[in-house]
C-alpha cells in the first residue's frame, strides 16, 4: 500500500532567526498559515494562571496600527479566519484564507504575533468574559473533569492547570502582565512560520521576510519544562449533587512525544482503548452497556504527558465501570495483546493515517506540531511502517510501563455522597467543590 507523500517543502531561516517552512501542495484554493511561538501556559507565573491564554486571545484585538475591529473587518471581508490560542508548550496563531489574499493577511498575522498593542478596553472586556465563561464551564461535567484531572495528576507541575486559567487569577491579571509576558518570550528565535497550500514557495518566503524580517529577538530563551513524577493512588470526587450521570477519568503521568515508547504505546493503546473495537469498549460498552463512550489515550507534550481513560455512566454504576477499567488495564499489562489485536490495531492506525493529512490546515498543524514537540516532519513518510513494525511484546511493554494500575488518579464528577461509598475501595478519597477547579 502506498503511503503519505510529503509536499514540496521549502525551508528558510531569516536573518533574525525565524524559521519559515512552506509546503506547496495541490488542492482547494485555500491556504493555511501558523505562526507558533514556544511560549505556552506552562510559563504562566504562579497566581497568574491563564496569562498565556489571555495574551493569545487578546493579541487579535489590536496589533500594529490596527484596532481589533479593523482586523475583524479586514480578515472576515476576505473570507478568512484568524484565531490564536495557547497550549501547554506554545502559543499558536492560525490563519485560513483564500489563497489569493494570503499575502495581505500574512501581514496581519505577523502584526498580531509580533506587535500586539493590548488595547486596555479590549483586554479588560476579554478578562471579564473569560471569567464569565468559566461559570458555563462549571456546569459542564466533562469540562470540570478534564480541568480537575490536570491538577490531580500534575499537582505542582507547570502543566498542572488548565490553559484557560482560573477565575481568581484572571481577576488579578493586568494588561501590563500581558505586555511583559509577550515582551519576554515572543521573538523570532523561538518562533516558526508555516504556510501550506497551492502557494509559490519563493514568493511566500519573501513575503515572510518583508513582514517578519524586522521582528526583534526576545530577551528570554524558550524555557525547557522539567518532567513530572508519578504519585501514589488517590481518588478525587468533584461534587456535582444535581448530576444523574458521573464523568470518570483514570489517569497518570506518562510520556512526552519524543519518548522511544511513543509508537509501541500508540499501537498498544489502540488495542486497550483507542479504537472502536478496543478492550475497554468491548468490556464496558458492548458487554455491559454501562456507557455510550469509553476511550483511553496518551496525550503527549514536549516534556511529559498523561495517559487517561475517559468515560461516563449513570450514578449507580460508577464503581462498576472503574472496577472493569482497572481490571482491563491490569490484564493488558500482565498478559499483553494478542498478535491478532496488534495487527488489527496497526492496520487501523496505518490505514487511516493518510486521511489525517488531507487538508492544508492538517499539514500546517502537523509541521507546527513537529517543531513544538521536537520530532521530524519527515516522520510522516515512515509512519505507517513504524506502526506496522510494532510487535505484541513491544506494545505490551511500552504501554504497561505507563498505565496507572496501582497509582495515578481515579477522578469522578458527580454527587459526592453516593460516590464516596462506591469509590473508597480504589484509594484514599478527597472531595473537591467544583469552584476549586474553576
Amino acid at each position: 500500500m502506498s503511503g503519505v507523500v510529503l509536499p514540496e517543502m521549502r525551508e528558510a531561516r531569516l536573518g533574525n532567526g525565524l524559521r519559515v517552512v512552506v509546503a506547496r501542495r495541490p488542492g482547494v484554493p485555500l491556504a493555511a498559515a501558523r505562526l507558533a511561538v514556544r511560549a505556552g501556559s506552562a510559563l504562566d507565573p504562579q497566581g497568574a494562571f491563564g496569562l498565556a491564554h489571555l495574551v493569545a486571545i487578546s493579541a487579535r484585538r489590536g496589533a500594529g496600527r490596527r484596532s481589533g475591529r479593523a482586523i475583524d473587518d479586514l480578515v472576515e471581508s476576505l473570507g478568512a479566519n484568524l484565531a490564536g490560542g495557547a497550549e501547554e508548550d506554545a502559543s499558536v496563531h492560525g490563519l485560513s484564507a483564500p489563497v489569493e489574499v494570503l499575502p495581505r493577511l500574512l501581514e496581519v498575522l505577523a502584526a498580531v504575533v509580533a506587535r500586539p498593542t493590548f488595547p486596555v478596553a479590549e483586554f479588560e472586556r476579554l478578562r471579564r468574559s473569560e471569567r464569565a465563561e468559566l461559570a458555563h464551564d462549571a456546569d459542564e461535567a466533562s469540562t470540570v473533569a478534564d480541568r480537575a484531572l490536570l491538577e490531580a495528576v500534575y499537582a505542582g507541575h507547570p502543566y498542572g492547570h488548565p490553559v484557560e486559567g482560573r477565575g481568581q487569577d484572571l481577576g488579578k491579571i493586568r494588561r501590563r502582565d500581558a505586555e511583559a509576558f509577550h515582551g519576554r518570550w515572543f521573538g523570532p528565535g523561538a518562533a516558526l512560520l508555516v504556510v501550506s497550500g497551492p502557494v509559490d514557495p519563493g514568493a511566500t518566503v519573501e513575503e515572510a521576510e518583508r513582514r517578519l524580517g524586522a521582528w526583534k529577538p526576545a530577551p528570554a530563551k524558550p524555557a525547557e519544562i522539567p518532567s513530572a513524577t508519578r504519585r501514589p493512588r488517590s481518588v478525587v470526587i468533584v461534587d456535582k449533587p444535581d448530576a444523574s450521570q458521573v464523568q470518570i477519568r483514570i489517569a497518570g503521568v506518562a510520556i512526552p512525544r519524543r519518548s522511544p515508547d511513543y509508537f509501541p504505546a500508540l499501537v498498544g493503546n489502540t488495542v486497550l482503548g483507542g479504537g472502536f473495537t478496543s478492550r475497554l469498549v468491548e468490556a464496558i460498552r458492548v458487554n455491559r452497556g454501562l456507557t455510550y463512550g469509553v476511550r483511553s489515550r496518551f496525550a503527549v507534550g514536549r516534556c511529559t504527558g498523561i495517559f487517561s481513560i475517559s468515560s461516563f455512566t449513570k450514578n449507580e454504576t460508577a464503581g462498576e465501570l472503574i472496577e472493569v477499567a482497572l481490571e482491563e488495564m491490569a490484564r493488558f499489562a500482565t498478559s499483553g495483546p494478542t498478535g491478532e489485536e496488534i495487527s488489527r490495531g496497526a492496520s487501523y492506525l496505518a490505514g487511516l493515517f493518510p486521511l489525517s493529512l488531507e487538508t492544508h490546515d492538517q499539514w500546517a498543524d502537523r509541521i507546527a506540531d513537529a517543531w513544538i514537540y521536537g520530532y521530524e516532519v519527515d516522520e510522516v513518510r515512515g509512519y505507517q511502517e513504524r506502526i506496522r513494525a510494532v510487535t505484541p511484546e513491544q506494545a505490551q511493554a511500552a504501554t504497561a510501563r505507563h498505565l496507572p494500575i496501582e497509582d495515578g488518579v481515579v477522578l469522578a464528577v458527580g454527587p459526592a455522597g453516593p460516590l464516596e461509598q462506591q469509590l473508597s475501595r480504589f484509594g484514599p478519597v478527597e472531595v473537591w467543590p467544583v469552584r476549586r477547579v474553576m
Partner: protein, 418 residues
Amino acid sequence: MDLGPVVAHTLANGLRVRVLPDRLVPAVSYYTFFGVGSRNERPGITGISHLFEHMMFNGSERYGPKEFDRVLEAHGGASNAYTSNDVTAYHDDFATDALPVVIDLESDRMRALRITVEALDQERSVVMEERRLRTENSHFGLLEEQLESLVFQAHPYRWPVIGWMDDIARIGREDCLDFFRTYYAPGNASIYVCGDVEPDDLLRRIEAAYGPIPAGPPVPAPIGGEPPQRGERRASIRHPAHASAMLAGFRAPAAREPDTAVLDVLQTCLASGEGSRLRRSLVQEQEVAVSVGVGFTWRADPGVFLLSMELAPGASQRKAEGALWAEIDRVASRGVAERELGRARALLRSSTLHEFSTRSGVAHALGQAEALLGDWREAGRSLERYQAVTREDVRRAAREWLAPSHRNVVWLDPEDVS
C-alpha cells in the same frame, strides 16, 4: 465546484450510487444514506431511527455480533454513523485495499441484518447513557428539547431525535424488524463514494453485492400538517446552573425552498465571526452576553432557525433578550450593508471550500444534497445560490421568518448549585 467527474448510476432495485474518483491519497470515504430519520417516527416509538442506527453494528447474516468494526479496522478502516431528523447516514473511511471488504460488510447488513433481543437490550442501555449525556446533563440539550416542542405542535420534529426515555425503554424487537423492512431497503438508500477508486470497477462490485437485494416496499409519507404559529410561545427550564442561557427559534423554510440560501447569508451576517452583528453588539459592545450563536440546519420539511445566548452570572435576562430582538428588528427593517453581504459571501465560499477539501466532506455533501434537495448536483451549486442573494432578499427574509409573532423562547432559569 466541479462535480463533472461524478459517475451516477441507479440499480434496478432503486439503490442510487454516486462516485467521485480522487486518487491523490490512497484512501476512500464511503457513505450510505437511508431516507429515514425521526421525521418518520410516531409517538410511542420516538427515537427508533437512532436506536436502530446502533443495531446496524450488531451483526448480519455473514458477520456475527461485534464483527463489523473488527473486520473494518483489521483492513485499515473505521466507521461511524449519525441519525438526524431526516436521514440516517453510515460512514466508512478506509485504505484503498479495503474496498471489497467494505462493500461486503455494508451489503450484508442491508440484505440480512440480525436483530436479537439481547443486542437490542444492550444498545438500549447505551442509548440511555447517550441521552443522559447529551440531554439530561446538558443545558443546551435541555433547552433544545424544550424549544423544538414549542416550535412544532403537530410535526414529528417536535420530539428529539434521540427519543423520549420511556420510548427508548419500550421499543421492541418487532418494532425494529418492521422498521428495517420498511426503511432499510435499497429503494430508500443511496451510496456516495469519494477517493481512490475506479468508478467502473466500483459499480461492478456494487451491482454484484447489492443487486440481488429486493427493492422493498414504498416508504410511507411522514406526518405533516403543522398549523401556523399565531403568537409568541415561551417556556423555561429550571435547573441547577452557575449562569443563565437562552435558546430561541423560528420556523424556517424547508431545504428545497429558495429562502434557505438567504437565511444562510443572514445567519453569517448575524453570528459568523468576530465582526458579525450579534457578536459585535451583544458580546463586544453591550456585554449583555458571553456568547451568541445562530444555528440553521437545512431540513426536508420546514425546520427551525435557532438563536442562542449564554449570559454572565447574574446578568439580566430581560436586557439581553431586549438587545437581541433590537438587532433582529434592525435587520428586518433596514437590512444589511453591501459590505456585509460581500463578507457573508466570502465566508460562505471559504466554508464550502473547507467542506470540499476532504473526501468525507465531498461524499457527505453529495448525499446531503440528494437527500434534502433531491439532486446530488446541488452540492456544487451552493456558491451560485449565495451569489444570487441580494440585500433586499436578506431584509425580506428577516422580516418574514423572524417576525416577533413567530418567536419561540426558552430560558434557563438557574437554581442554586450548592
